[in-house]
Symmetry: D2
């Protein structure tokens, strides 16, 4: 394949690429770190308003990041309608509302699965307040990730915790409005060490099937055991119609929350291939594409811009796959040809095509260069003096 241009894409592929909208996490703009240390950075936002301002910069230069997820209570404000207006004035929307039920002392031994019914009710109520935030901000997705689990064998009953989880989720689900949904994230390990209450897609899906049609699974690309074929899970969840959202990021070993595409760009491409093949790139598909990353060492706004362009490149490559030829090679069990058709798209340099796409939308060809030249970084360093920098940790 010679260097492709916009005209190499079908009309439909171009439409999908033009309208790709990736949600940003508000917490990526605050400080984050490891259990050993959270480093600070000049210019870091001090509140939800400033986070939205930084997020809006990412959208301004990429044209592909028009939503921002909030994390409650990290992004608590007095008036959520006001926050919504702030977002709209910045040209962006509020995306998923993420509940946080792991940083209060009461949750030491779990939230929705806690042996103590009073603490479970407290955690359910936190989710109900998140639903209120959704209503106030126009958000449609309640995203639930739980730190629940145990550290030692025997610490609690695995089975009873599942039963408590089902009951707690039911109470939350029943509080959803007609246009709201619940999306349930799974995670292989961390922070619990021995067992995690929602460790895999099977568990999340079982609960979603039980809850009803407004419940779907969240797949965080960093939340699997080594060697797991993630695109298989993508294909499977699309097949049963329950892939609610992605949390995109990268990992080398643990839940590293690195820039998506940084650790294994070929894996990201294979995932986007299943997305394209399954028709899930369409905004109507119900699959939300969300970043979930921590910029512990690197600059935060540029880190998000890089993430957006990485997803766009993987998407463009997936859209360039010659699917007719691929199907034919697959049918005839021609292993090398089928693989070569996939690799041919992967090995293509799609950056010129994406530059052309951006220019066609009135954006700079190189969003990173344009942002760095814009002076925003210097401005926030100068302006955001004093106050408490927002931090991912409690």
């Amino acid at each position: 394949m010679s260097t492709p241009t916009l005209s190499s894409l079908t009309h439909e592929a171009r439409r999908l690429l033009e309208h790709q909208n990736i949600e940003l996490p508000s917490w990526a703009f605050g400080n984050s770190g490891t259990r050993f240390k959270v480093f600070t950075t000049p210019g870091t936002p001090r509140n939800a308003y400033e986070k939205l301002e930084d997020a809006a910069q990412v959208h301004k230069f990429t044209g592909a990041a028009g939503k921002v997820s909030l994390h409650i209570p990290w992004d608590e404000v007095e008036d959520y309608s006001d926050l919504r207006r702030h977002a709209e004035n910045l040209g962006i929307e509020i995306g998923a509302i993420n509940s946080n039920v792991f940083q209060d002392d009461d949750y030491k031994f779990g939230s929705l699965c806690n042996p103590d019914p009073k603490i479970r009710t407290k955690a359910v109520d936190t989710h109900k307040r998140c639903i209120d935030v959704m209503s106030a901000t126009g958000s449609t997705d309640l995203k639930i990730w739980l730190a629940d689990g145990t550290n030692y064998p025997g610490q609690d009953s695995i089975r009873e915790r599942q039963d408590r989880l089902a009951e707690s989720l039911r109470r939350i689900y029943d509080a959803l409005g007609p246009d709201q949904r619940l999306i349930l994230e799974y995670k292989f390990f961390e922070p619990a060490t021995y067992h995690t209450d929602v460790p895999d897609w099977g568990t999340s899906l079982l609960h979603c099937l039980d809850l009803g049609e407004k419940a779907s699974v969240v797949l965080d690309t960093g939340h699997h055991a080594p060697g797991t074929n993630i695109e298989f899970i993508v294909a499977q969840l699309l097949r049963v119609g329950r892939l609610g959202a992605f949390d995109f990021n990268s990992r080398f070993y643990a839940d590293d929350d690195l820039i998506v595409g940084a650790a294994d760009p070929f894996q990201l491409f294979r995932i986007m291939n299943e997305i394209v093949a399954g028709g899930a790139l369409d905004p109507e598909s119900g699959v939300a594409f969300v970043l979930d990353q921590c910029h512990n060492l690197e600059a935060k706004i540029p880190g998000e811009i890089r993430s957006i362009t990485n997803v766009q490149e993987a998407t463009a490559k997936a859209l360039l796959i010659d699917r007719l030829a691929l199907a034919e090679a697959q049918r005839s069990c021609d292993v090398l040809s089928a693989n070569a058709i996939l690799m041919d798209a992967y090995n293509t340099d799609v950056r010129p095509l994406l530059a052309e796409l951006r220019e066609s939308k009135g954006l700079a060809a190189d969003p990173m260069a344009a942002f760095l030249a814009s002076g925003h970084l210097e401005q926030i360093v100068a302006e955001r003096v004093g106050g408490q920098q927002a931090s991912w940790a409690a």
Copy 2:
């Protein structure tokens, strides 16, 4: 806990332990190996009849291994009713029938998921013949493990293979008799390298739920990614009533098929703890306890005896857990006490208790010593001369 005796067990616990019946795999008595080499051993059986004779020795000395799984076509015979009579004369029964759809050249690119409908039909027909063998031998379980998958990204469509799998399984399921069931095994990797068509419990369960009540999941303890909490899966499958059978063995890294309890005896204990807690030890529970092991280097009959005693020891320990005290410690979030109650049972030496149990059933206290003294090994070395040793490989 001082050294426990039979009287340390409750009446019910003693009953469960006395009636524990673990199924042996016929193939454990034939030769097996790695892709590098299959070593042979004097005295190895040459056919299904001789395998049953060896299996009967394990039951004779342990009193806890009264069933044998067959593998078709490895155990093909002219007259399955005759084979059944042979088993009955030896005091054992035929357990699960395992289909083998991975050693015929036609299955190079898959069996039930193959792109070629003629090959899928061939594989379905093989399963129908297995159902005939079930009817002839009195077996109730059709155990399906598939080598299906792909080696390279793009080789075939992950999604379409799932659809083909669903359709093929439906055709097999519909051929089951009223008292027969289908149990579907999952495996994380191997022999396929890039993707496996039934890689995890979620996939197996989805297909089983779709098929109907006569379909359940097989959990092979060696078929998971590193770090997977297997007892969690046990608890989850028991919770939804779809744990059909165990394939017991051990692994250090890959699907090593080592003697169960050899690599991580504490894990085996934790699994048996969930079994006991979930009421699945009862023969009426519908959970089959099956060994699936390869004795590449060690003697085969003694290897199976060791496996049976390992499972018995883990079971006895699980039955000794002080469940009232455990529930109380769990309720009060007393992490160390809850863990200590579990570990107290694990650290107990239950071998004297099991020796007592065996003697109460008229068996030797030490099955391994009794078997080695019996002269059976010497006898088969002398008798089984000539012919082709049965082998796990094609």
Copy 3:
């Protein structure tokens, strides 16, 4: 093996068990947690003096924990000679001094491997101050664990960082006194995500060999890739005479820092088997046995007591292995017998033997029960009010 008693041990085995001395980490008595949350606990020490008091309780009831490692600057005090006297008055000694060069903003991009020579010098100087603390406290071991590494491919030169590391270590090594040594810990991952500067025993050993005879490797049992055979590394390092110390703990997936023996007690036994076989249990062997654990959820002093008894049990079992019979079975390639001899010792209940040993030393048979009955926990909760609880995090 019937339940063994003290007299089941050889004279030498009993001597080794009686004199086993396991070093406690001061930081185990402070708060710790994950990147998500550090929970606090009533009674937690506020400074190094109070940590030593808690550590002394562990020694008082186990008789096997007579040393405490310090972590600088977590345990900084005005007068280290005074701290040493405090320890001596409590009946314990100061063990290894652990340097901390990962919580200062200057170390964001590394300490001994940092591209900036001024920061490297700062980190070297910190180690020189640790050597001063060693001299003041009577400690002989400078333990170095580095958080150095990179998060993204390309971030820095892997090769140049090794060269900087070698040069920095040389400067530290040259500052050691004649009876002091440097022990270098390796870690597979975390906090760096892409590459770690001392990721494996090979790297640590290469630097130690280069430095000289006063440098040895620290093996933390939680710092390996999944599937790593840790006892092999123990045997290998003993073979080349460079196993300096253990950091004992447990992990299920990441560096969980759980109670040693909690996740895989059989692995702990296999490690102690290599220790006994290699003659490294003798206090003269130069191998330091140190705990390195975090009690995020469980009570801290009891967590340490449990850790000590777990190591003692694994040691007692290793000392009970019939080594003559084992060597004979190994020589004749009798796989099952050799394995059975090992497992026979492992499956033995050594708790009565250890109770007898403790009573022979004038201690309570059950250190946990005796400690809990002592009132110390209630006392520290009452007394340690106000101030800042010591925490593992910065």
Copy 4:
């Protein structure tokens, strides 16, 4: 970076790329498989002569595969001088000689580490015969990979096996001629399940350092634990001057022996980056670049051609890295810029540049298309009828 051409390369980079010579494994042209099944293919070579003929095709079309490794006894012939002439007539040379001491019944419990000194001597003698083959064929490298290890804890003494290994290797090393060297491969697991006698680079390096300057380490890219940073090991072995050879292939989970670059092309690029940075691409560096792959499902000659082009692409990308800019970004700890410089080279499409390079050497721009059009595959299917197809398995 716009699409680069040959003139984008420095003179030196072009020279290195032009002279890149990757060694082919003779066994890649025979059949191979898994422990479950070895599938056959029409046209498969029946002997070493035919394997060389197929290998020569790979060189004919790529111009970058001028050497072939042999495996003894798989490639045993009557007259090795004749085989050498056959190779020379085909325009290729004999590369490394691989010893095989794992398929004889005597090696059931090990070869160079076997408890039985007679078996160790037999294995040493096999290596001496390999050295004779080296002398007869002009090969300079004796490549040793051992299947030695144990399957169960206790089966043999880990420590004593190391001592036996050292002694056996010494006897082999002493038989090397002045221009011959020994290269020792390590492997994390398989076929042994519990412990492997040369499991990691540290062990291989220790033995090589002990043996002398003619011993170096072989790094097989598939022989590591999940999460291992392989390029770190490359950098470390280059730093100490003991990287003897690569065995290139790919894996998703186990030692899959897939086409190099098939599973993680970004990892291959990072490895080649360390090779270029360390000056090891130069043929004078002493680092041999060898493929070690099995084509279980895909066509064999095309599989090798694909492997060669994958390595060439990764190499060309590594040569395009702007190393001055990278060093500057690294020095200033500009994480995102340093990473971007690396990724910029990786994301470049170097296939046109390589097509240009091939044409400048008088080769077809697309080696795969040219080979498939050549009729060789059809010819060997027609000619190689009867006889026994060469197979990787015993």
